[in-house]
């Protein structure tokens, strides 16, 4: 079920009440309830998906125990860990990439795509997320970062916890698993903070992302008919669509988890205020980028090796990151594009220049920072064109058409009033996130007193969401990954 659906609006309060009032007396019972509720949430899409997540969870849990048991028996622990990784990745690749590679193989070597090679498997929702999450556990057990848990229910709760199950954040066992191992107590401030975060996430998803989608979908579907200026506007709107959609989902997930006394990791940290690509990748989809850093990049040697290996490692993680998003050459090219942007920074040792928040302690940034943010945003937006396109050919034509003489013409606007509203909301979102770029909590609004006025502000956001919902029930983009 979608977060912005009536089913979830009914599901959440029921689960909340049962969690805190019925199952709170016993930790095991409460965890079992979390598993049951999460499986109900996930099974709402398709009950068959439950078999796969249960299988993945069981394999990873069991491998954790075996790794610990055979730790001192030569290479057995290594083989078990490797076996679990291989098995889970094979399952992921089968569902996600088999048809893509079979089709590509058919085109290259058999003179055309052959349907007999394809399996037409339905891609289970969230498989990329929970597979990586389960893998992080067995790898961390192998690395002795965490003790394996004997409590299978606790482990199932960690893998399937419904707020973050289908679109992240991809949690680490070291953060989330222990939270299911201890009693949770209800905290008023955490819960209200969670509600505010849910509200902000809904605003970003419904008002920003879904309204951008209307313009973006129309332009991308008929991009050859539009001027360069229109294509550029659509590219920028897609940048905000994907941000509003994905970070909105993460906010709803994190806010929902707070209602249950669970703290999830931050997944977005105002990425469009980044001053270079390296900073962007420290602020965008943090859970995935840190996963690749810790489990792929560093084991390969990271940046503490020869230049040739640094180049290799950089390309490996960006290409894998691209591939993680889906079975299309556009995602791989998108990954390669970012690798090419990142490489000069890392080779010059400038990839860690901007570890602080831009204009920290100041109201406005300086001109240099503005220009850097603008350039980084532009480069990222071009990357999003590749990401969004259906094919590399379309991406190339789209980008070429942006930089045609028609870039200087007036962009197409079917409904200028509506798009004035949309740009105003985007500006409002950016302003809010700018003001709270250091604490990350836009709706906390501590400066607004009294409480009744803050309440009214929240009410206004709810009314805005209701009025500016474009309808048509848009899915979250990252569900397809």
């Amino acid at each position: 079920m979608l977060f912005n659906s009536i089913e979830f609006t009914i599901f959440l309060p029921i689960v909340f009440v049962l969690y805190w009032f019925v199952f709170n007396r016993n930790l095991k019972a409460q965890n079992a309830f979390v598993v049951a509720a999460s499986y109900l949430f996930y099974g709402w899409w398709d009950w068959r998906f439950l078999l796969l997540i249960a299988f993945t969870s069981t394999c990873s849990w069991w491998s954790g125990l075996l790794i610990d048991r055979f730790r001192d028996s030569g290479n057995k622990a290594k083989w078990i860990s490797g076996g679990n990784i291989t098995l889970n990745l094979l399952i992921l690749c089968l569902f996600k990439y088999y048809d893509f590679f079979a089709e590509s193989f058919g085109r290259l070597f058999l003179g055309g795509a052959s349907d007999s090679l394809l399996l037409h498997l339905i891609l289970p929702v969230g498989i990329s997320f929970y597979t990586f999450q389960a893998l992080s556990y067995s790898i961390d057990v192998y690395r002795k970062k965490i003790e394996p848990t004997k409590d299978i229910i606790q482990f199932f709760a960690f893998v399937s916890f419904f707020p973050q199950l289908v679109a992240g954040p991809i949690e680490r066992a070291t953060n989330l698993l222990p939270q299911f191992g201890k009693t949770r107590t209800f905290d008023y401030h955490t819960a209200t903070d969670g509600m505010r975060q849910i509200l902000w996430g809904l605003f970003k998803k419904i008002v920003i992302a879904d309204n951008c989608a209307i313009y973006v979908n129309e332009v991308y579907a008929n991009f050859e008919d539009y001027s360069g200026s229109t294509l550029l506007v659509a590219a920028v709107l897609f940048a905000f669509q994907i941000y509003g959609d994905f970070s909105g989902y993460s906010d709803i997930a994190i806010g929902t988890a707070k209602l249950f006394g669970i703290k999830l990791m931050r997944n977005f940290n105002v990425p469009y205020f980044s001053r270079d690509i390296a900073e962007f990748w420290r602020r965008w989809h943090i859970s995935l980028t840190t996963w690749f850093r810790d489990y792929v990049y560093i084991p390969l040697g990271g940046s503490r090796c020869s230049k040739a290996k640094i180049i290799r490692n950089t390309f490996v993680i960006f290409l894998l990151s691209g591939m993680w998003h889906g079975a299309n050459w556009t995602f791989i090219v998108w990954g390669a594009y970012h690798a090419l942007l990142f490489l000069p920074l890392i080779l010059m040792g400038k990839n860690r220049r901007y570890r602080d928040t831009v204009a920290a302690g100041r109201l406005l940034p300086d001109v240099k920072s503005i220009l850097k943010m603008a350039l980084t945003f532009f480069l990222v937006t071009i990357g999003w064109v590749i990401f969004r396109a259906d094919s590399i050919g379309q991406a190339w034509t789209y980008i070429a058409n942006i930089f045609s003489p028609s870039l200087l013409t007036k962009p197409w606007h079917p409904d200028v009033i509506h798009y004035c509203h949309l740009f105003a909301f985007i500006a409002l979102m950016l302003a809010g996130e700018w003001m709270h770029r250091e604490d990350g909590n836009v709706l906390q609004m501590k400066r607004i007193q009294p409480r009744a006025v803050r309440f009214l502000c929240y009410m206004l956001i709810v009314v805005t969401i209701a009025i500016f919902n474009p309808g048509e029930g848009n899915q979250f983009i990252y569900f397809q990954f």
Binding site: A466, I467, G471
Partner: protein
């Protein structure tokens, strides 16, 4: 926890009140909306749809029958109750509501075709939103459409879920319920569909017979009209003989004349059609004039 639950409940209450206010405000605005599809309902509810001759049917009624031309030839007042995308089950609810707020017509021109007796729900449901809580809507429409529990019982939800912008997207103003479509021929639908089939739903047929019996008992002159459609559809239509047997049986039973333009020359020339099943503005005006003259020859009209 208690403080959280109380404050959350208070917030939900405030939101509910706000949604009720929004619902009322938007409903009032749409009750004066001058574009389709709400305009037709507003005219019905305001009694502005009262007419001597009423056109009933689906989209073919709506775009084929020009009240202005019928009025000029027949010297009467005509209103077009055609409802887009709707088989008779929906047409009947519209007619019943029309009869509650507007005067009894002297003549009904009932457009008939291969989908009149099918069953449709869900299409352009938003046209019902502003009248949702009226008693007759709750009895005649809401139970039979695809409205969810939330649509029915949460204030403003139906508007928000559908998308307010989508409601106001169409700026087309029918005149006495009629729109002349000035669009070029588009044969895509024809090319995509291999066959067209005469469809009968038993509930719809039952309602149709009830409607014919009622109008007959009230002394309303019912006339079946089959408007021109693209000749290829007529040729491809499965169940064509069955269709005509049924309509002829009903016509005989209730003494209803049939005006059949199925094979009219308008249906052979794509210059008069904008797609395989609808005449464009030029085509509909020529058809309306033909129809008006044929009705005049039958002694229909001269009510003014």
């Amino acid at each position: 926890m208690k403080k959280f639950l109380i404050r959350t409940s208070l917030f939900i209450l405030m939101v509910t009140v706000a949604m009720c206010v929004l619902d009322v405000v938007l409903t009032k605005k749409l009750n004066h909306y001058e574009y389709r599809p709400m305009l037709g309902w507003n005219e019905i509810y305001d009694g502005r749809a009262s007419a001597d001759i009423v056109v009933m049917g689906n989209s073919r009624a709506w775009v084929h029958y020009s009240p202005a031309i019928l009025d000029s030839v027949l010297h009467c007042h005509t209103y077009n109750l055609g409802i887009d995308g709707s088989a008779f089950n929906r047409q009947y609810s519209r007619y019943k509501i029309y009869r509650m707020y507007d005067k009894k017509p002297k003549v009904i021109l009932q457009n008939i075709d291969f989908v009149t007796l099918a069953y449709t729900t869900g299409y352009e449901q938003f046209q019902y939103f502003p009248y949702f809580y009226r008693r007759e809507m709750q009895e005649l429409v809401v139970p039979y459409e695809e409205f969810t529990f939330a649509d029915k019982y949460l204030p403003f939800y139906r508007y928000a879920n559908f998308g307010i912008k989508r409601i106001f997207k169409t700026k087309v103003a029918p005149v006495n319920g009629y729109i002349g479509k000035e669009e070029p021929w588009n044969g895509t639908r024809l090319r995509k569909k291999k066959s067209f089939k005469f469809t009968v739903d038993s509930t719809t047929l039952e309602q149709f017979e009830q409607y014919l019996a009622e109008t007959h008992a009230e002394g309303i002159q019912m006339i079946f009209v089959h408007a021109p459609i693209y000749q290829e559809i007529t040729q491809k239509l499965e169940g064509r003989d069955e269709m005509w047997r049924l309509y002829k049986r009903l016509a005989e039973q209730y003494q209803i004349p049939i005006l059949n333009y199925e094979e009219d020359s308008l249906g052979m020339d794509t210059n008069y059609l904008y797609n395989a099943t609808h005449l464009n503005k030029t085509g509909s005006e020529i058809f309306s004039r033909k129809l008006a003259n044929d009705l005049k020859a039958m002694g229909i009209g001269q009510y003014l």
